[in-house]
């Protein structure tokens, strides 16, 4: 193949998406931290999906239009840092191929190089041994050997080979990878994408798999059969279609949000759809009878399916379920009515409905449910910016992997002045919002207060290791409790309280702190809560301790020292 046209490019991207879909869980597992929050595969997959969908609107006869639409879709669909970098890589390619009906090998090779350059520019401080390195070394090699490359088959085979070599070398460049014994996940995601694109050119089949969206982080590593000694750990996956009945009230007046609000009290992973007089619900709950009782007030069931998710069999079921992960995902064609225009509003990403509510109480107008294992997309931020409708909008990401996405959205948004705070955990937003005065002070004053607060708060998180691992000079065993502070694992122990105790010793400037706030995670048991409170009272006798049921996934405790 000597020239590349729009139709072929589209087919290549679709195939790249398919290939990554088949492997995204492998990519997710390439996680430096042994906690179940690996999501790079999911994020790049979601990013590509944005491109695939957007290309449908393109004029296939013009390559320039296909690449442009693809890039637009990826920029908006981008989730997580690797997703943002991937979207920028393809945006760079699109920019270089602008206006072309078809591209030659040389034109495409230089477009690839431009892709790398744009991707590098997207990152304030590029780190080698990451997806950037894989992109750069692969595309540089192609440019350096362009005289030997006569067709697209050779180009992609060469690119793929070189990227593979580069990816295998990432642990040599990035010590944290080497220590953890993994290769870079973002680079791996890009490699699968290029592999799929290559296979399309070579005419090789790529198996298609259902992409489940941001994955469930329920730990099913050691599933057990359900027997007389079992406990209902995960509840029931409950799905039904409800026909709203006129005899039970006007179907048009039944508000889907009421269902979501009600079921949020007793379950999670909610997907809710209303089409005319039909309501379709998916919810994970331990009390399915409450779901039935509530729904039947409005109609009767067309179908009803319920499965115990604690049983091993359901591991597969969970994975095959074409749903979003934790939290509430509302499928609705109707965008919520924007708020009345105001001067300043705040958007924050919350990992659970509980923390979302806390933020709302603190004056956050726009809540995006997400975080670990379910990074919001640039589009999610754009939608929320429309919703909060203010001259200045301050955004609080809750994870370092969300900051770039928020910045990408901010860069694309023109209706408000958007300020992305570099907050890496919910604690920073919480600490900042407590002291802010959104209605009373200027945006500059608020940002100054917020930044001061974010600087002084120390946050620590406790999770459980899902595999043997090495990090920060520590050898961590599977099922060890680990304490994470400032992006590093700082303590580990077989018991959770000892892991906390060791971590508390690492809090800098402890004598200046006077408030401790504990966010209890979904996985924290009542005993853990009681023990933790006792431990903190003993370790920090002079401090006020506040407890919040945060319901966050992954982390048993998130603790803030202020």
């Amino acid at each position: 193949m000597k020239t590349l046209d729009g139709r072929t490019y589209e087919a290549m991207i679709v195939n790249g998406f398919k290939d990554l879909k088949t492997h995204y869980e492998t990519v997710n597992e390439l996680n430096v931290f042994p906690v179940p929050d690996g999501d790079t595969g999911t994020n790049i997959c979601a990013t590509l999906e944005g491109g695939v969908k957007a290309m449908k609107r393109a004029n296939k006869a013009v390559l320039g239009d296909v690449v442009a639409k693809c890039s637009e879709g990826m920029l908006l669909g981008a989730r997580g840092n690797s997703g943002v970098i991937t979207s920028q890589f393809f945006a760079g390619i699109a920019y270089a191929l602008q206006g072309l009906t078809k591209a030659t090998v040389r034109q495409f090779a230089s477009a690839l190089k431009n892709g790398t350059a744009v991707a590098y520019k997207a990152v304030p401080t590029p780190v080698e041994g990451t997806i950037l390195t894989v992109a750069r070394e692969g595309t540089d090699y192609v440019i350096d050997h362009i005289n030997e490359i006569k067709d697209f088959e050779t180009l992609f085979k060469t690119l793929l080979e070189q990227m593979k070599i580069s990816l295998d070398r990432t642990p040599d460049l990035l010590p944290v990878l080497k220590e953890a014994g993994v290769i870079d996940s973002g680079g791996a995601g890009l490699l699968y994408t290029i592999e799929g694109m290559c296979k399309e050119i070579m005419g090789e089949e790529v198996t298609d798999t259902i992409f489940n969206g941001p994955s469930s982080n329920i730990d099913l590593n050691e599933p057990e059969a359900f027997n007389e000694d079992s406990k209902l750990d995960y509840g029931y996956c409950t799905e039904f279609i409800l026909q709203l009945l006129r005899s039970k009230g006007d179907p048009a007046k039944v508000n889907l949000q009421d269902f979501i609000d009600e079921f949020s009290k007793i379950g999670d992973s909610i997907v809710a759809i209303k089409q005319n007089s039909i309501i379709k619900i998916h919810v994970h709950t331990k009390e399915p009878w409450k779901v039935i009782q509530y729904a039947q007030q409005y109609g009767e069931f067309v179908t009803f399916k319920m499965e115990n998710m604690t049983i091993q069999h359901n591991e597969k079921l969970l994975k095959e379920m074409p749903i979003e992960g934790k939290g509430v995902k509302v499928s609705s064609d109707i965008k919520p009515e924007p708020l009345k225009h105001s001067k300043i509003q705040v958007i924050a990403v919350a990992p659970s409905p509980e923390i979302g509510k806390l933020f709302k109480d603190l004056g956050v107008a726009g809540i995006i449910t997400g975080g670990q294992t379910m990074n919001p997309s640039a589009q999610d931020f754009v939608d929320k910016l429309d919703y909060v409708n203010a001259d200045d909008v301050i955004i609080f990401p809750n994870n370092s992997n969300v900051i770039m996405t928020a910045e990408q959205a901010a860069g694309m948004y023109t209706k408000s002045k958007v300020h992305v705070m570099h907050s890496k955990s919910v604690v920073e937003a919480y600490s900042a919002m407590k002291m802010a005065d959104i209605a009373g002070a200027s945006v500059e004053e608020n940002i100054q207060i917020m930044e001061e607060q974010m600087k002084s708060v120390v946050s620590m998180q406790i999770s459980k290791s899902i595999r043997d691992s090495k990090n920060n000079g520590m050898t961590i065993r599977k099922n060890d409790f680990i304490g994470i502070m400032g992006g590093k694992i700082v303590s580990h122990d077989r018991t959770i309280m000892k892991a906390v105790q060791k971590m508390v010793k690492n809090v800098p400037n402890m004598d200046e702190k006077s408030i401790i706030t504990v966010f209890y995670g979904k996985n924290a048991t009542e005993k853990m809560k009681v023990d933790l409170k006792k431990l903190l009272e003993r370790l920090c006798p002079m401090m006020d301790i506040y407890e919040i049921d945060g319901g966050q996934p992954v982390y048993h405790f998130t603790i803030a020292f202020e």
């Binding site: 806390l358 004056g363 002291m435 802010a436 005065d437 209605a439 706030t517 006020d544 919040i548």
Partner: protein, 295 residues
Amino acid sequence: MAELAIFIDSTGDLDTELRKKYDIGYCTMGLSFKGKEIPASLDWDHGYNPHQLYDVMREGEKIFTSQVTRQEFIAKFEPELKAGKDVLYISCSSGLSKSVDLARIVSKELLEQYPERKIAVVDSLITGYAQGDMAIRARRMFEDGKNLDEIVEWLEANKLRFHQWAAVENLNYLKRAGRVKASSAFFGNLFGVKPILISDIHGNNLAVKKVKGRKPSLLEIVNSTIASAEDIENQTIYIAHSDDLEGAEFCKEELLKRAKPKHVHIGILGPIIGGSTGPGTIAIYCFGKEVTEGE
């Protein structure tokens, strides 16, 4: 010159000893809770000591306060007039209670019966020991030979120079009692964030600042007191608390580290003020530069 009877009311907070020393009376407001009505006594002789009263609040019991009644004003003022004394009443801030309006009406009626006498009503635009301090200063002026008109003139000219710096646990009690002005940023569960309240030029409790942590909030009011006081070496600084002597002692200690006031008086927030702010409040009062809008 006629003798002068000086009154404050239940928000004036002067304890028994100070009132005795400066011959200051007070008009009693009312408290009601658990279906009982009791006088808001500054002598705490209504069956509840401060700790017991704040425990009632900690248990979640809502305390209602009521202004000075017509009968109470007559019962306090008339005997003084009858005895040939003039009356000066320094009232609770009109921003917080309507007692002052009623006092003016009652005074007019009484003066019709005692046309030879004088009654002056001064709206202190503040409460607590600042209101009490005005009465003490009035007594001293009187003893120095100033007449009632001169005293009232001074009070009117200087009342905005009395400052209140209060650190409260939260605004929930005050909000419930409708006795605070604050933007929405001060409400909600702020987990460890303490609002700082001043008495503004209209005599309202105004939330001006949020401080993270109990100790930093106490240091904040100490520093603000020093910054707003004038000639601190020659005045008494009043520190009042609602069941937190330790906090008040801490403030005194920190104040003495940073400044040399003539005297520091630690007292208890009276049942009306304490009943509105809730337990754990520390308020410091001083005399200094004039309070300005939005301080």
